[in-house]
Amino acid sequence: MDIHFTPEELAFRSEVWAFLGLNLPADLAEKVRLGRRLAKEDHQRWQKILNQKGWYAVNWPEEYGGTGWSVVQKHIFDEECAAAGAPRLVAFGVNMVAPVIIKFGTQAQKDYYLPRILRSEDWWCQGYSEPGAGSDLASLKTRAERDGDYYVVNGQKTWTTLGQHANRIFCLVRTDPSAKKQEGISFLLIDMDTPGITVRPIITLDGEHEVNEVFFDNVRVPVENLVGEENKGWTCAKYLLTHERTGQAGIGQSKAALAHLKQIASAETVAGQPRIDDPLFRARIAELEMRLMAVEMSTLRILAATRDGGVPGAESSLLKIQGSEIRQAITDLMRKALGPNALPFLEPELESDFHGEPLYQDYSASPASQYFNLRKLSIYGGSNEIQKNIIAKLVLEL
C-alpha cells in the first residue's frame, strides 16, 4: 500500500504533460478556461488530435484501439488534460455506446461503428429519458415494433444532450409491451437521418441549448441495429450506467475548476484585498480542497479495487454523488467570489467565437451561468436520490 506515484507513473505524467503542451491548441484551452461554449468542431478537433496519438479511446480494450492504461494512469491523464484546459470529452460515443458495442455488439457492429467513433465520423447521443420516465427509467414507453427486417419506432425521448450535433442515437425502446418494466426493453442504434426523427431544442435556465427532445414517428430501423438480444436491453443499460456514473466523478475537472476558483478569488478584491485573504472565504476554499482530496483518493481506491478495467458496481453511485456535489460546490464558491460582478448575464461573451473586450474580466461571464447549468449534475445519470436508493439496496442491503 503506497499512495506515492511510482517513477513510471511520474514519467507517464511528464509524457502526458509534454504531449498536451505541444498538441493542445491554445485557443481551445482558452475557451475551456473561460467557460465558453464549445462548438461541435472544437470537440472534433481535439478528438482527432487525441486519436492520432492513440489516446482517445482510453477506456477501450487494447485490441479495439484502447490504451491499456491502469486506473492510476487514466487518472493522471484526466487530471493533466483538465489542468491544461483540454475540452472534456463528450462521452456518448467513445465512453458510452462503444463499451456497450464492445461487450454486447456483433462483430459487424464492432467493425462498423468503433472505427467511425475513433475517427470522429459519428457523433452519438443518448435516447434514454422520456417525459414520463425520468428517474424511473424502466417505465419508458417508446415502442419498437418488428416489421420484417425493421423495427418501427414511435415515441419521444428527452434531455438528449447535444442531440443537435448528433448523427446517431442509441435508444432504449420497448419491444415487448406485455412484459414487465425492465423486461421487454431493447437497445437500438439509430441513424438520426432516418425519416420520422425530429429534434427540438430545450432551452435551459442559463439560456443554453444543450439538451433536446427527440421525436420518433414511424422511424424504420434495420434489425441488425439491435445490440444484444431483443428484450434484453436492460442488461446493456445497466452496464452502461455504471460506466456513465464512474465517468461522472470528474475529479480532473474538479481540480481544474478549483484552481480556477483560486485564481478568481485571488483576482477579485475588496478594497484592494484579495477575496482569498478573507479568513472565512479562504476556509471555505480550504474545506472544498480537502474534500476534493478525499473524493480523489476514494475514487482511485474504489476504481483500483475493481478488476475489469475500472468500472465498479454499486459503489459507482457513491462516486457519482460525491463527484457531482463537489463540482456544484466549486461553482457555488466561484459565483460567490465574484460578488455583485456575478450578476450580468453576458451571453455574447460565452460564445465560442467571442473575441471582443469583456465587460469586466474575461472570467466573469460564466461562473453564475455555470453554477445554474451544473445543477444538472445531481439530476442526470440517475439523480443523486436514485443513487442513494441504489446504495441502500445493493451496498447496504436495507
Binding site: 428517474s135 435551459t204 465574484l338 455583485p340 460582478n341 450578476l343 450580468p344
Partner: protein, 384 residues
C-alpha cells in the same frame, strides 16, 4: 409585540397580490423581459395608479408614508410574481437616501415625482472592487467651479439604463469619506452599458469621464454619506428579504404541487419519505425566513443602532441561506423540468440565488454580525 396585520395593511397586501396575479403571469413576464425596457411600463403605471409606487415615500412628499411593514407586503408580492420593475432600488433604496440626506428643496423637487411613479431613481454604489462595501470605492469627486467633476466606473447599477436620476457615490479628492451626488445620466461624459442580469432585471455599468455636476447635486454633507448609505441599505435589505420570501413561497408551492402530481415508480413522488423529509426541512427554513423578514420589516425604520444592524444582518443571512436551499432543492426535486427556461420555477431559482448578490451575501452578513457580536466583558473573571 404583535404579529397581526391591521386592516389597511391586509388591504394593501391583497391589492398588490391581485394586481400581480392578474397582470404578471409567467408568460407575460417573459414578454416583458424580452421587451426593450426589460419590464412593463404598463404594470408600473398600474402600480402608480393604485398608489403602490408611493407606499415607501413619506406623506409630506405625496407618499403613502408606509413603514417597513408596508414595504414588506408590497415586495413579497412583487417577489412572488418575479416582477422586473426597479421598485426596490428606486422607491425604497434611492428614495430613502434622498429623504434622509436631501435638503428640503431636493426632497420636494424629487420625491413627489418618484411617489407618482413618474421619475425613476437608482443608486450607483457598487464598483468592481467594492463587493457590498460601499465605502470601498475609487470613483472620485474633484471640486471645481460651482460644482464637482466625477470620474470612475460603477458596476451593476440595477435599473440604471432607464433611471431619470442616478445617485452616485464618490470619494472626495480633497478629504475623507464618501459623498452622494444626484447625477443626470444625460450629462456629458456619462456612458452606460446595459445588460440583463441572470435573474431577469436589467442593469448597466456606468462610466464617468470627468462628468460635471453642479453644487446643488450634492446630497447631504460632503464626505459624510456613509452612515446614510448603511442605514438605507438596511431598509433595502429588509425589503429584499420580503421579495425573497415571496419568491420562496411560490417556488415551494410549485414544488409541493409537483410532488403531489408527478408519478414515478407507481406513485406520486411526494410519497417518498426522503423527499417528504426534505420538504419538511425546507418548510422549516422558509418559516424562519418569514419570521426574520417580519423582524427586519419591523426594525427597518428604527433609529440606527447596533441592535438594528445585528437584526438586519441576521435577517439577510437567514433569508439568503433559505433562498439558496429552496432554490437548489426545488430544482432538484423537479428534476430536469426544473431547469428549463420555459418553466417559472427555474426563474425563481435564479432570482433566489442572485438576490444574495445584492446588498451582501450570507457570508458578508455573517461577517457583519460577527463584528457586532456582543461579547461578555472580562468574562474570565466572571466565570473563573
Amino acid at each position: 409585540m404583535n404579529f397581526e396585520l391591521n386592516e389597511e395593511q391586509q388591504m394593501l397586501a391583497d391589492t398588490v397580490e391581485r394586481l400581480v396575479r392578474n397582470t404578471y403571469s409567467f408568460e407575460q413576464r417573459e414578454v416583458f423581459y424580452q421587451s426593450p425596457r426589460g419590464y412593463s411600463p404598463e404594470f408600473w403605471r398600474q402600480l402608480s395608479e393604485l398608489g403602490i409606487t408611493s407606499v415607501p415615500i413619506a406623506a409630506e412628499y405625496e407618499g403613502f408614508g408606509g413603514t417597513g411593514v408596508e414595504n414588506m407586503l408590497v415586495m413579497k408580492e412583487l417577489g412572488r410574481g418575479l416582477c422586473l420593475e426597479p421598485y426596490l432600488h428606486s422607491q425604497i433604496y434611492a428614495a430613502g437616501l434622498v429623504e434622509q440626506l436631501g435638503s428640503a428643496e431636493q426632497r420636494q423637487s424629487i420625491l413627489p415625482a418618484v411617489a407618482a411613479g413618474e421619475r425613476l431613481l437608482t443608486v450607483a454604489d457598487e464598483e468592481a472592487g467594492s463587493h457590498y462595501h460601499p465605502e470601498a470605492i475609487e470613483c472620485q469627486a474633484v471640486p471645481c467651479e460651482r460644482g464637482w467633476r466625477l470620474s470612475g466606473r460603477k458596476r451593476v447599477v440595477i435599473g440604471g439604463e432607464l433611471a431619470h436620476t442616478i445617485l452616485v457615490t464618490a470619494r472626495m479628492s480633497d478629504g475623507e469619506g464618501v459623498s452622494l451626488f444626484l447625477l443626470d445620466p444625460a450629462a456629458e461624459g456619462v456612458s452606460r452599458t446595459g445588460y440583463p442580469c441572470i435573474d431577469g432585471p436589467r442593469a448597466c455599468d456606468l462610466a464617468l469621464a470627468d462628468v460635471y455636476v453642479e453644487a446643488d447635486s450634492l446630497l447631504g454633507p460632503a464626505g459624510k454619506a456613509a452612515p446614510a448609505l448603511a442605514y438605507q441599505r438596511g431598509r433595502a435589505v429588509a425589503a429584499q428579504c420580503a421579495e425573497a420570501v415571496g419568491s420562496m413561497e411560490e417556488a415551494f408551492r410549485l414544488t409541493l404541487d409537483y410532488l403531489k402530481t408527478r408519478q414515478q415508480f407507481g406513485s406520486p413522488i411526494g410519497r417518498f419519505q426522503a423527499l417528504q423529509h426534505r420538504m419538511a426541512e425546507m418548510r422549516g427554513e422558509l418559516e424562519l425566513a418569514r419570521s426574520m423578514t417580519i423582524l427586519a420589516a419591523c426594525v427597518a425604520d428604527d433609529p440606527d443602532s447596533e441592535s438594528r444592524s445585528r437584526r438586519l444582518a441576521a435577517a439577510k443571512f437567514t433569508v439568503a441561506r433559505a433562498s439558496q436551499l429552496i432554490a437548489e432543492q426545488s430544482v432538484q426535486l423537479h428534476g430536469g423540468i426544473g431547469m428549463t427556461w420555459e418553466y417559472s420555477l427555474a426563474h425563481h431559482a435564479k432570482r433566489l440565488v442572485m438576490l444574495t448578490h445584492q446588498f451582501g451575501d450570507d457570508d458578508f452578513h455573517l461577517g457583519q454580525y460577527s463584528a457586532l457580536l456582543e461579547v461578555p466583558r472580562q468574562a474570565s473573571q466572571q466565570v473563573a
